[in-house]
Symmetry: D2
Subunit: 430 residues, 4 copies
């Protein structure tokens, strides 16, 4: 194990360098062309074969895919930023990478999952913001790694490198997943439904920061993921002159407003905490016309997938009733979803034991609460359903600003910290 | 005609006496037992045969009938106030009186319609209120002639008396209708549907006061009746403990509240003025239980019967949608309705001519606007549909207080004023 | 201790008899005149002095007091049911009893709290309902012991009797509180504010049934009480004819409906589970008048008193805004309130130890969740604030039907079960 | 007069040519740079001095001014489309033209008002649409003369030409107003408040088409203008993570939705027809964040300016109350307004007399109903207040499609038709 830890130390600077590169060329959900290319080129350079493109995905479960035009722009920008055309073609319409490192010995099948997308946010460019002062702030307007996925990706690549260089140190095989489109909980399900996790015994994933805001703190098992479903609701009515012929209109705006007000009572449930949010409502074009179109984005969350499904059905029913109220048409589409999830206590205990054995963490919390949603839940569920185990960790790091803030930054000491824990777990055969 | 006018003058005191008797024993809609009995006894005493009971009514069109218990109480009170038991049995479950006075000569068939019910209101009993100071304030709590129907009834009886004593003064026959339950527009349709108006050539009706607030003012032809339909809407959900199991409840209160807010946009219509009112909403019993029942009374009004029907359908749809929104059941029942109506200009001109010829009015307005609803509209429509003509007048009188106020009172000079106009019209054969 | 347990066994039938007597003469909140009289007469008969009337209460904190007329009726009924007039006068306007049993030895001050009121519910009178078949169903229509407070009262009296007969078996003193008006969380605060708990070291209270639905199950420490505040909200607008002059009205119904729909979003809070319920909404009198008055009962609940206060303020603000929206007046009054509460773990452990030592329970759960509200929380808080400890237990019993159901009944074996636990705890000096 | 009519006939083709030029280079409200320049160049070419720029306007009453950037783009486009830079500088920030033609003889002061702006609409470019087939469809995307103001402008210029060439044919003087930004009722008030109408005795204006859809039909006096005020309402709350910290958000979207539903009951008024429309509601950016900003456009209309002011105040109050409900800030800004207006019957009669005398119209209707709003009402009111008279005509023309439709077109015969009526009226000295 000492060899492993030394390697981690040796590659710590490379981890930072990788992270900063991803940070500088941040790409948002489904548009991670340069990021995907860099991952693939790195893996191939170090001798790890990897798979790109639609083969990693069950397309029909890929939520909230961008318009063709947006994809083409993303490809073009990646090309301008140095990605060979052939690689872009290999990626095709689906970003993300999978790879397998086989020790050649019998043993468990591990999966390590890393999310790679940035937020649709423009990064701060002010004196006090380190990515800016040190020259790795995002050059792509409207895309910013303000959640730390740049770090996750770097962690994944260094893990791959060390595992590949130390096949004698572990048994079984390790599958690596670099998942696009985690923001909006859009990408995981499609990867899960592709069957990639069907032979996985142990799934390890995690996040830097969040509720682990001190360097050296390990939260071994994060639960309290909200299951979530996000619906786009489109009301279609009929326009008419608001003064001269109001009776000829069918008011989509009022249908939407009424739906918005009436979904909130759904949240009260003694079976578990739930959430409803009407995040957007856009209706109408001018003051003097009965508005004929309204679009809303509504998300429901609940502590279990079943409760979340029930909540989503209820939200849909409220929207349909609101449409009926105003004699308009309505269509609802799910554009993002995640399951509720809980890690396995048996795996949690093993993770803690490994961390203690090698003194990897300054502080260990066995359990943490997420309080929001993560689509790794689809993968955890798939692994657990086939009898495997899964844990989602939080890796402690001090933050310059909160997640999703345009001045977000983290202490890069977390990179070797997380890598050590993941590698020690695999090498210990947990 | 002079003989007729002298008779009116001679009976002016009797008119007041009758009015004050009806006023003192005010009875509200469908409960006018003593009133009906007094009308019948008076007509029979003066030799005019009349018809009582269900025979005057097409039962299925009688709106908003009271519970059996309420009817029985009304009968009992009438008995205690001196009505012979046999007469109450003759009335049975349906108050109201019809009578026909035949001149024996060929001619037109006239109908005079008078409404006889009081409001569900408790009359003021204070020093300045004349019915109280002069001893004819209502002795029946919760029933008060604050709209002048006591006067209408008295006008009808004196008309009957004089016509019956002067059959040589007119041709054809005169049908008299003393209609119950005008308040809430509940009684007229049932009387109309009985066929009583099927042979009527000329329908005359009217109201004291309203927009005619000066003594001696005749408004010959009142239009601008709103067609109306009043719906009772009952939502039935499911109760549950509001803290321990809110998800088990189906919230009828919120369905009703949502319906209430969403019916108002229906009123905007370039085809004609309309009105919506949610007059009542009653839901729930205690603070800590999801309310399982809600009841609303909603009325819609519009300038034509067609627009009113459309509006009522729309109100119903909103209520059904609100029920769907909260997963509750809903039932809607029409409990009162009136048509839009316009009097005939030809008849209006004749009425004005008669009034001028005999100098009956100090001031004549050809047309007036009602601005509310009156179920005489059913009768006007039936007569007009068969080719007859109709006018609804306003007979001017100074008012102590506005209609429907518990201190309402009028100048009884209006009684002979109205009687003269009605009798002159018939004797002139208009 | 054996002497104590034998006494409990010996008085088990008396406990049932007492319980059935209270059950038969069920009285609802603030109207427990016969119940109060029976408690007082029993205590005095066995030689325990007790205190009645307003002296037990800080009047200004007595929530939701009935109209004078209702109190007078309750007094009259109690008199008819055998209570001496003098005793009713002693009770005056405030039901409830307090008593102190002093061992004469130094030691802790214990408080035992029992609630005595029935629900405003009419008891089932059908063949299968034991209180009915065995002749102790409530003779008072609209009042029914469907929550088990009859049992609580009986437990309290037998505790008093045995403690008084065995002063040598315990040290310190025991204060007994028979609290009126627990339903609606109305009575406890007034008793607490009177200062009665200011010297209490250990408060013990509890409930039969709830989440302890097996005979012999002890839940030692129930937490998860929602803090709650119940507000009556009265909107006062202005009536007007809905067709003829709608603009003159100020619509109280719509203000209430709008408030009702807009208080539900308040419930979402990451700091703890919360609840909102608009339990009642009553507005308007007839269909054709703009409704001038609306009354709502709204309750908010939250996991802590602070969050509940914040929620109540927010509910009030929504109501005031709704009033402003419709140009109407609004008044809000709190008519019931309870605090959030948690029992003390140290006391919980001692209770469990005693129960195990004497083998008093077939099954012990250390902690339970209430999931609703109980105004004993005011007393728990007062005791804890001065440094004392408190626990609220659940005493297991099979139920014929759920609490608050008109066919509720319980297995009376729970009476000696609860009494033994309470007495053992006191005699052990926990 | 024959000379005048011959001149009209002679310039009919020029009228069409002018109209088509304006049509092709359509410019929307406040951006009419090329249009303004063409008008000015035409007037100056024929020897009529005219005034451009801010001097025509009382700036503070100019509603809904575009951002500086939009103005600059409009100027630039005009320059690209051939307008000399100097002329654009003369126009400055305010489009629109005024001119005076003085006969040199004593007499009345007439004002002729023409609106010059296009709609923000992209014109149809399909085979059947004449402006497209004949090559004068708008080359400016997002601007389209679909209301006929291109025709109005052409009418104005030919009137100016003929009047200027025939000063001996009339007395007094004629003031011409080419008003920008009529759509949205934004431009008229600023021109009126500049004082231009302070000496006007007779104001003549009108519209082609509308309710005059037959060639040769003159509606002499259009009334039934709704007074209107259009408000932009901006709610500002606070964003927060919808699952992790909903209580930290202040929900602007729900405030807006609540306001939207609660403004509709305001429309019921027995004093006159009114209208409310929430034309737009835009709130929020993503599904999982409490929306912090919402913007609505609401218009109220009523039959008189007083009722409209009252309605606007009420709308504002509802919005402020909705803001209070959700603890958010709100700002309301009027961005368009027009008065109620009625033409003068005396002028109407004279117009009809002139049209009959010279047989100018195939059909004459004395009065018409507008049923919507027009900001010429500000000018009519100003003229009437100082004792002058005003009429707004409708000039009949067959339409290819309804006003505001992207395939709108009209029969250009209406141009000489309208010009003749205007000139005849002035030359007759009405």
């Amino acid at each position: 194990m000492e060899r492993i830890f030394s390697a981690v130390q040796a590659y710590a600077d490379e981890a930072s360098k990788l992270r900063r590169d991803f940070h500088k060329f941040a790409e948002d959900a489904w548009c991670e062309y340069r990021t995907t290319a860099q991952i693939a080129q790195y893996l191939r350079r170090i001798g790890v074969p990897c798979k790109l493109g639609v083969g990693n995905m069950a397309e029909q479960f890929a939520y909230n895919r961008p318009e063709k035009e947006k994809l083409e722009k993303a490809k073009k920008r990646a090309e301008e930023q140095g990605v060979p055309k052939a690689l872009i073609e290999e990626i095709g319409d689906f970003t993300g990478v999978t790879a397998v490192i086989d020790s050649g010995k019998p043993g468990k099948t591990y999966a390590l999952r890393f999310d790679i997308d940035a937020l649709t946010l423009t990064e701060s460019k002010t004196g006090s913001h380190r990515p800016w002062t040190e020259g790795f702030a995002s050059v792509n307007d409207g895309a910013c790694h303000a959640c730390g996925h740049d770090g996750h990706t770097a962690i994944g690549l260094i893990c791959a490198r060390i595992l590949n260089e130390n096949k004698d140190s572990f048994c079984g095989k390790v599958k690596l997943v670099f998942q696009p489109a985690e923001e909006g909980v859009c990408g995981a399900r499609a990867m899960m439904e592709s069957g990639f996790f069907d032979d996985v015994d142990v799934l390890l994933s995690g996040h830097i920061g969040l509720n682990a805001k001190e360097n050296g703190l390990l939260v071994a098992n994060t639960g309290g993921f909200f299951a979530t479903a996000k619906q786009k609701v489109v009301f279609k009515g009929k326009s008419a002159h608001a003064a001269a012929a109001p009776e000829r209109g069918k008011n989509a705006l009022l249908a939407a407003a009424s739906a918005a007000l009436n979904v909130y009572p759904l949240v009260q449930d003694s079976r578990g905490m739930a959430r409803v949010n009407v995040g957007t409502l856009h209706a109408g074009t001018v003051a003097n016309v009965i508005p004929e179109r309204a679009e809303m984005k509504i998300e429901g969350r609940a502590m279990t997938t079943e409760l979340c499904d029930e909540l989503s059905d209820n939200i849909k029913r409220v929207c349909e009733a609101a449409a009926m109220m105003y004699g308009v048409q309505v269509e609802t589409t799910v554009f993002g979803a995640a399951m509720g999830a809980n890690g396995d206590e048996s795996l949690e205990k093993k993770l803690c034991a490994v961390a203690r054995k090698y003194n990897l963490a300054e502080k260990i919390k066995e359990k943490g609460v997420f309080g929001a949603s993560e689509d790794v839940s689809w993968m955890m569920d798939a692994v657990q359903k086939r009898g495997g185990v899964a844990c989602y960790m939080m890796w402690g790091t001090e933050l310059a600003e909160a997640h999703h803030n345009s001045m977000f930054d983290f202490d890069e000491k977390v990179l070797p910290f997380a890598i050590k824990i993941l590698l020690a777990a695999i090498c210990e055969g947990i």
